[in-house]
């Protein structure tokens, strides 16, 4: 078990097993381990087996795609027609999506199988998965620790072998940080690479979907299917999607990799820094040229990010009003009471904090001081990266300042939780692609290394990560699970 997407794809093509058999294996593992890990909010077993039978028929008819019959899990913020899409919120606990997200459409037309919908921080707001209405996910490497967030269920499901691959979304690190904490590979593409249609919006100028899997090779396969133009997302890119799996065997000889001095400064755990340095040495041995660079405005990224993200969230989440779908409070006395109590009872504490800050930042008299100022700093942060990319091909650093922390360790102080995102959020502000891959352990918990590429250079990221994974086996490590 714990086969990779690539192995399953090849095994299905070679007729070694059927999609129904593989799907049954994964459903059995989910039934065994999900009660203790809580990776899934909904397990769609009947649908999965029906899709697996269809996939086997399609393959028998000679019409198979690389992902036909491959079982996958999807973050519970991708709308799935006829299947509950809760966003881990009480306000959408009863929401059966009436249509499919573009990402789901793409996986369906490739013939992939959906195992279920994964747990997450409510509305993708959080870095630990503790903000879920359905309870925290346990980190498969140590169940007293968080899996990261917000796509914690997807990352933990892949790490625990409850799915070979999964979808996620990343607004400030929500793919890369849980990938790092759970020891799996995840990529956040360039803003606009993957359609946001049917992805329940958090911060529209930052949100981007992407895959989790055990390796860069698997992520390449999944991203090829997820990415592409969609007219229903007004900021979706029209650039052609490269054949990622075909572009990962190029090696890193002569590749210029920059290490931002700000990412190795105060705040980084020293044991984690040592693990990253060993991984850098490995890339150097493979022929990469390593040099120091500077991203001087890194420190500004946290305040800038939280203003942009909270302002956009307060606007996006105004659609949850208790009128057309979702939770409605009991016995509203008037329309205002209906709005206020449906929202007050439907949203969790962190979502409410963000709506309130965002509303404040956008209110009359404060817009220039907060949102406009943040947009100016956003350009300065983007310019730092563009300057860096004039001398290097990729940027490398830690994904997180430390390994997965204990459940409950940071819940009392929202600001200390926000500081977890220091290395990941600037990419969302700049719209750049980034990925996290496992490069070692500290105290028995996985360490993630982040690679950052220039716009639309997902192939370059996947290639560098694949080169590293060809000579190391960190991505092949699996946790011992207890029922």
């Amino acid at each position: 078990m714990a086969k990779s997407v690539t192995e399953i794809s090849r095994g299905l093509a070679a007729g070694k097993f059927s999609s129904v058999e593989v799907t049954q294996d994964y459903l059995a593992r989910i039934a065994e381990f999900n009660p203790s890990l809580n990776c899934f909010i909904s397990v769609t077993d009947e649908l999965a087996l029906a899709q697996a039978r269809q996939a086997d028929d399609r393959r028998a008819g000679g019409e198979a795609d690389a992902l036909t019959g491959v079982p996958l899990a999807h973050k519970d913020l991708f709308c799935t027609d006829g299947v509950r899409t809760s966003c881990a919120s009480r306000i959408l606990d009863n929401f059966i999506a009436p249509y499919d997200a573009k990402v789901i459409e793409n996986f369906k037309s490739a013939g992939a199988v959906m195992l279920g919908k994964t747990n997450m921080d409510e509305f993708a707001m959080g870095s630990s998965n503790e903000n879920s209405h359905y309870g925290c996910v346990a980190n498969p490497w140590n169940t007293a620790h968080v899996p990261g967030g917000s796509s914690g269920g997807s990352a933990a499901a892949v790490a625990a072998g409850l799915a070979p691959g999964a979808s996620g979304t990343d607004t400030g690190g929500s793919i890369r940080q849980p990938a790092a904490f759970c020891g799996v590979t995840g990529i956040k593409p360039t803003y606009g690479r993957v359609s946001r249609y049917g992805m329940i919006a958090f911060a529209s100028s930052l949100d981007q979907g992407g895959p989790f899997a055990r390796s860069a090779e698997d992520c390449a396969l999944l991203l090829r299917t997820m990415a592409g133009f969609d007219r229903r997302d007004s900021t979706c890119s029209e650039q052609a999607v490269p054949d990622y799996p075909a572009s990962i065997g190029r090696g890193v000889e002569g590749l210029k990799i920059g290490l931002p001095v700000e990412y190795f400064a105060e705040g980084l755990d020293s044991k984690l820094a040592a693990v990253i340095e060993t991984a850098v040495d490995e890339l150097r041995r493979l022929g990469a040229e390593i040099q120091d660079i500077s991203l001087p405005n890194t420190g500004l990224s946290i305040p800038t990010y939280y203003v942009v993200a909270m302002a956009e969230c307060s606007s996006n989440l105004s659609r949850f009003d208790g009128v057309r779908f979702g939770y409605r409070c009991e016995d509203p006395v008037d329309l205002e009471d209906l709005y206020k109590r449906s929202r007050g009872e439907g949203f969790g504490a962190e979502v409410k904090r963000r709506i309130l800050i965002g509303t404040y930042a956008l209110s009359a008299g404060y817009y220039d001081a907060y949102y406009l100022k943040a947009q100016q700093l956003r350009r300065m942060i983007k310019d730092d990266f563009q300057k860096a990319f004039s001398s290097v091909d990729l940027i490398l650093g830690p994904t997180t300042p430390g390994v997965a922390f204990r459940i409950g360790a940071k819940t009392d102080d929202p600001v200390s939780m926000y500081l977890q995102d220091i290395y990941t959020i600037s990419l969302n502000l700049a719209g750049l692609p980034g990925m996290s891959l496992p490069v070692g352990f500290v105290d028995g918990l996985p360490v993630g290394m982040q690679l950052i590429g220039n716009y639309f250079d997902e192939a370059g990221l996947l290639n560098a990560a694949h080169s590293y994974q060809q000579v190391t086996d960190w991505h092949l490590q699996t946790p011992e699970l207890k029922v």
């Binding site: 307060s314 929202r343 009872e345 309130l356 509303t359 700093l377 300065m380 502000l429 719209g431 750049l432």
Partner: protein, 95 residues
């Protein structure tokens, strides 16, 4: 930046968000500490910098003015909290 509990109640009203009486102090303190973090933005002079709204500086794509959506009212209303005769029902607004 420090907020008072009246400020939080006013913002909550603007956001049409009910906050429990006994949670107001906690929200006031949490929001104040978030705003203190946000105030770090003022350490930098950004005068003259063009605000960035889209990371790729993309402009709005236009499309032909044609009907592209189909009528799915019945499907959408299946998940509504309260409907009658094809309409969404809410408490009486006009006396």
């Amino acid at each position: 930046m420090t907020l008072k509990s009246e400020d939080v109640l006013n913002i909550a009203h603007l956001a049409r968000l009910h906050i429990d009486e006994d949670a107001i102090d906690q929200y006031t303190s949490d929001l104040s500490s978030i705003l203190t973090l946000v105030d770090q933005m003022n350490q930098v002079d950004s005068s003259g910098v063009v605000p960035l709204a889209n990371p790729l500086d993309a402009t709005q794509r236009l499309r032909d003015d044609e009907v592209t959506e189909i009528d799915e009212r019945d499907k959408f209303q299946q998940i509504a909290p309260d409907v009658e005769a094809g309409f969404y029902r809410v408490p009486k607004v006009i006396e």
